[in-house]
């Protein structure tokens, strides 16, 4: 088990190198140039060229064959990709082209906002989705089952931008219960420890800030939770239904065990494997940032930032952001795999 975990961790490195390679290739395949994106309608030829030079964009992407032909070995390797990898070795993600701010610095500020939102959304999705799935499965074909499954179908297909605007309109504008966007009200300050505002305000005992932060996060978290909640509910239900048809469940019933014990102790534990997979992958997806939710609720996470980076051809942002997202996904797939062994004694990793 430990050896398996280590092996998986070591395999992260070539995977990440592959990721950087693919990102580099695709980025350069998309037409459009950071300099033009930056200068807009005003771009003159000279300026575009100067910016390209300043950011090394005039160099070949992977290897410079022309330099090699001239016998310039150093020039052969002096390319955009290898320069980037060189910096990455010393954990330098580079600076944003447009803003000149180190990418790592912005990630450190924005990623916690994404983490906070994703965790709360996942908490909501799981605490509602799993019980709903269990109840639906236990009462298959009942009115409750029908209602919740139709509800989850709506949840899966709900456009987030519409739901978000409706939530804002109801709770922000009409009822005026909740602020309509952002992470904290102006004037409220929280000392940064983890940069997760809810946790920092609790640690420092700043209850006013905690309340404010909670009021800000609750609407986007609900909006973000709808789709995973519906997916989790449906997955839990179908997985439970499979398990409930197994012989050992019949045996348990035959032994005269209480329905609740059969359901929770015998069925749920075995039905949980695919649910954990879904929860892990969904959490990974949420942690990759939620462009729509972040846009509507003006939430300063990484989703909108990377998205803008792609539109603006701000390569270092796209590279840094996608590298982090890839890391998260790899991380969660490892965790999910390992959790199988914990949940299912039949699974062993060697």
């Amino acid at each position: 088990m430990v050896r398996y975990a280590l092996r998986r961790l070591v395999s992260v490195i070539p995977t990440l190198i592959g990721v950087t390679f693919v990102i580099f290739m695709f980025q350069r395949l998309i037409p459009g140039d950071p300099a033009v994106a930056m200068l807009g309608e005003h771009a003159t030829q000279e300026n575009v060229e100067r910016i390209r030079e300043q950011f090394g964009l005039n160099r070949p992407v992977f290897l410079d064959r022309e330099a090699l032909a001239q016998g310039d070995i150093k020039g052969f390797f002096d390319t955009q990709y290898l320069r980037y990898m060189g910096r990455l070795m010393v954990l330098d993600l580079g600076n944003s082209i447009h803003r000149r701010i180190p990418v790592a610095e912005t990630l450190a500020l924005r990623f916690p906002a994404t983490v906070e939102l994703a965790l709360l959304a996942m908490l909501i999705a799981t605490t509602i989705g799993v019980p709903v799935g269990i109840i639906s499965a236990a009462r298959r074909g009942s009115f409750i089952d029908g209602t919740t499954m139709i509800g989850s179908l709506i949840g899966v297909s709900m456009p987030i931008f519409w739901l978000g605007l409706m939530l804002i309109m109801l709770f922000g504008v009409t009822l005026k219960w909740l602020p309509v966007g952002g992470r904290l009200s102006t004037g409220i300050e929280v000392q940064g420890i983890t940069n997760l505002v809810l946790i920092d305000s609790l640690i420092t005992g700043n209850m006013a800030a905690f309340k404010d932060a909670f009021q800000h996060i609750i609407m986007p978290a609900i909006a973000l939770a709808t789709i995973p909640m519906a997916i989790i509910a449906r997955m839990t239900r179908s997985s439970m239904l499979d398990v409930l048809q197994e012989d050992y469940i019949r045996t348990a019933h035959a032994k005269g065990l209480h329905e609740r014990i059969v359901l929770y102790r015998h069925a749920l534990k075995n039905a949980f494997l695919p649910v954990i997979t879904i929860i892990g992958l969904q959490l990974g997806a949420l942690l990759a940032g939620a462009v729509l939710t972040e846009t509507i609720f003006a939430w300063p996470g990484i989703g909108k930032w990377v998205y803008d980076g792609i539109l603006g051809r701000d390569y270092p942002i796209v590279q840094g952001g996608t590298l982090l997202i890839a890391l998260i996904f790899i991380f969660f797939s490892i965790i999910v795999d390992l959790s199988y062994a914990l949940l299912d004694p039949r699974i062993h990793y060697e």
Partner: protein, 603 residues
């Protein structure tokens, strides 16, 4: 056991975020809110052409206080402005985006500024600037007793310091990572290429600029937000970080930089010692709310006091909402439909005329620009001097279009075009070969710009108009915005294409001269347009001193462009801004940053 797994998951994420946060900059303490105090009344806005009256508002109605905050006592009066995107940098010399100037315009000031609501340059940090007879030397008297926000003195040395930083590429504060885009554009280049050949401090409060050739728009250039004077001490202290969120900017303006939380908000506080009088509000916060509808809802909820950029439906709502009013930023922009002149068919003026007569501009403006747009018959908006009002626009007349097409040899209409010469990309590869036949494309912009609302819908309506007049066009999406701009720059939009322009300094040279001043040769960026007569006229207008001498030249240029059907000018868009009725005194500017120092907020 599943609980255990979930715990592992949570713990791992927490750990990751802690590791990341370890390298986060510590929260900087913000300046104490400025105490509102009785000061001399700030200079009132002069009576100028008043910005458009708030439209369709009724009596202000008292609303309940909607902002959900723990209100501390004696809260500073804070004006909160909602916008779609964040500033790029707060060093105006190295940026080109309006969201940056929106902020730097409050903290930094140039030697000249634009008169309220107009594009006329009037003194700011300079009390006057006078040219010599030849127009090659400008002597500026500076305002005395002005201090930068860091307490250092504003004087001639500070002006020289800034201009030398912009001009000399080997200046220690002219960093490689910075692009001084506008200095080059407005003053001809860096180092020896600069039109400004020297900037001298004659005495503490006098600066002399020497130019290599007369530059007619010199004062209009000086007044651009880009050439605002930063504190030399501030520049030196921050080094390459000047203008980034950690360093902000240091100027002489009515507001001082306080903090910038990237992607979220920027805060500035009133400058108690402002030479023009302390602003009436204590703080401005610009909040980023990317979604147009959500931003409008934030205004309705009272979370913000004002916003720019709203969808048409929300504007209609705002017009009838008693708690809101709309003001417009006068249009200093033009949208157009351009021709690619490397197409054989478009080289025939009759075909261009046929396009011009085919487009129902009135209908397009009414339906897509709404109440805020006006039909354009020239490149120069009416606000800019040099605008030629005598020109009679091409009438909407599909029958005439068909007739013109028939005369040009297309009695059955035009649905295919022919490439006249090879068109290459940046690397020299031929993309379109001479003689190649292409379907007639109408390239539409992939994004909405302030001068071009709903480009795709407008393109569809244009296509319908064109079909009606005998053209068979294919709507074409070239790619996203950078791709579109890139292809346009390389002259690779082979057909009709949409684009527009927003002025930088209110001088006609910045419109007409920028576009067609290089037209002795085919201009790649402008669809290979070539017109030596027009180019000569515009180059001459750029070095002629005196508005009275230049104005007829630009009017003549407009006439040439009209007669040649250079392009089909479409519209000028006045930008609506929506305010809570609590707000008064906001002055939208057609060029340069809006004035915030007269803003008042009713409780």
């Amino acid at each position: 056991m599943n609980r255990k797994t979930i715990f592992t998951l949570l713990a791992a994420i927490l750990l990751m975020s802690m590791v990341l946060s370890a390298c986060a900059p510590q929260a900087t303490p913000t300046a104490a809110p400025a105490q509102p105090e009785a000061t001399e009344a700030p200079m009132e806005p002069e009576a100028t052409e008043a910005p458009a009256e708030p439209e369709m508002t009724e009596e202000p109605v008292a609303t309940e206080a909607p902002v959900i905050t723990e209100a501390p006592s004696a809260e500073p009066v804070t004006f909160i402005f909602g916008r779609g995107g964040d500033s790029v940098q707060l060093d105006p010399a190295i940026v080109t985006d309006g969201e940056s100037f929106r902020v730097t315009g409050q903290c930094l000031e140039p030697l000249y500024q634009y008169e309220h609501g107009t594009t006329v340059p009037v003194p700011a940090l300079a009390e006057s600037c006078e040219p010599n007879e030849a127009g090659t030397e400008w002597t500026c008297k500076l305002r005395e007793g002005v201090k930068f926000h860091d307490g250092t003195d504003f004087n001639a040395d500070a002006v020289v310091f800034n201009f030398e930083r912009w001009r000399f590429t080997d200046n220690p504060l002219h960093f490689e990572s910075q692009v001084f885009e506008y200095y080059e554009a407005q003053f001809g280049g860096f180092d020896d290429a600069s039109i400004i050949t020297s900037v001298e401090a004659v005495d503490t409060y006098t600066v002399k600029f020497t130019l290599s050739a007369p530059q007619a728009p010199f004062l209009a250039n000086l007044a651009m937000d880009i050439f605002a004077i930063s504190s030399p001490a501030g520049l030196e202290a921050a080094g390459e970080d000047y203008g980034t969120p950690s360093a902000g900017c240091v100027g002489t303006g009515p507001f001082k930089f306080v903090e910038w939380v990237e992607g979220d908000h920027i805060t500035v506080a009133a400058n108690d010692d402002y030479w023009g009088g302390r602003p009436k509000i204590d703080q401005i916060i610009w909040r980023v709310i990317p979604d147009d509808s959500a931003r409008f809802l934030a205004l309705q909820a009272g979370d913000i006091h004002a916003l720019e950029q709203a969808v048409v439906e929300d504007l209609t709502t705002a017009e009838s909402d008693p708690n809101l009013f709309i003001e417009t930023r006068p249009a200093l922009n033009t949208s157009y439909l351009a021709f690619n002149y490397k197409l054989v068919e478009f080289q025939d003026i009759r075909v261009r005329q046929a396009v011009a007569h085919a487009i129902n501009k009135e209908g397009l403006i009414e339906n897509f620009f709404g109440a805020y747009g006006e039909v354009a018959k020239n490149l120069l908006p009416p606000l800019v001097w040099g605008h030629n009002d005598a020109i009679e626009d091409w009438a909407y007349d599909p029958d005439l279009s068909r007739q013109l097409l028939a005369e040009a040899g297309f009695p059955d209409g035009l649905s295919e075009v022919t490439v006249a010469e090879d068109i290459t990309d940046a690397d020299g590869n031929v993309v379109f070969t001479a003689g190649e036949k292409l379907p007639l494309r109408l390239y539409y912009m992939p994004v909405t710009r302030f001068y071009f609302p709903a480009p795709k819908e407008i393109a569809e309506a244009m296509a319908a108009d064109l079909t009606n007049a005998g053209f068979n066009v294919e709507l074409y999406l070239e790619g996203d915005w950078p791709t579109y701009l890139g292809s346009r720059r390389e002259g690779r939009l082979v057909g009709l294409y949409q684009l527009g322009w927003g002025g930088d300094n209110g001088d006609p040279d910045n419109f007409t001269g920028y576009f067609f001043g290089g037209g002795a040769e085919p201009i790649t960026r402008e669809g290979w347009y070539q017109n030596a007569e027009l180019a000569d006229l515009l180059i001459n207008a750029q070095i002629t001193v005196g508005q009275e001498n230049r104005e007829p030249m630009y009017q003549q240029a407009e006439q040439i462009m009209h007669d040649d059907v250079t392009r089909v000018w479409l519209g000028h868009n006045n930008t609506p801004l929506i305010f809570s009725t609590k707000v008064s005194g906001y002055i939208p500017q057609p060029v340069g940053a809006d004035y915030y120092e007269f803003v008042e907020l009713a409780p």
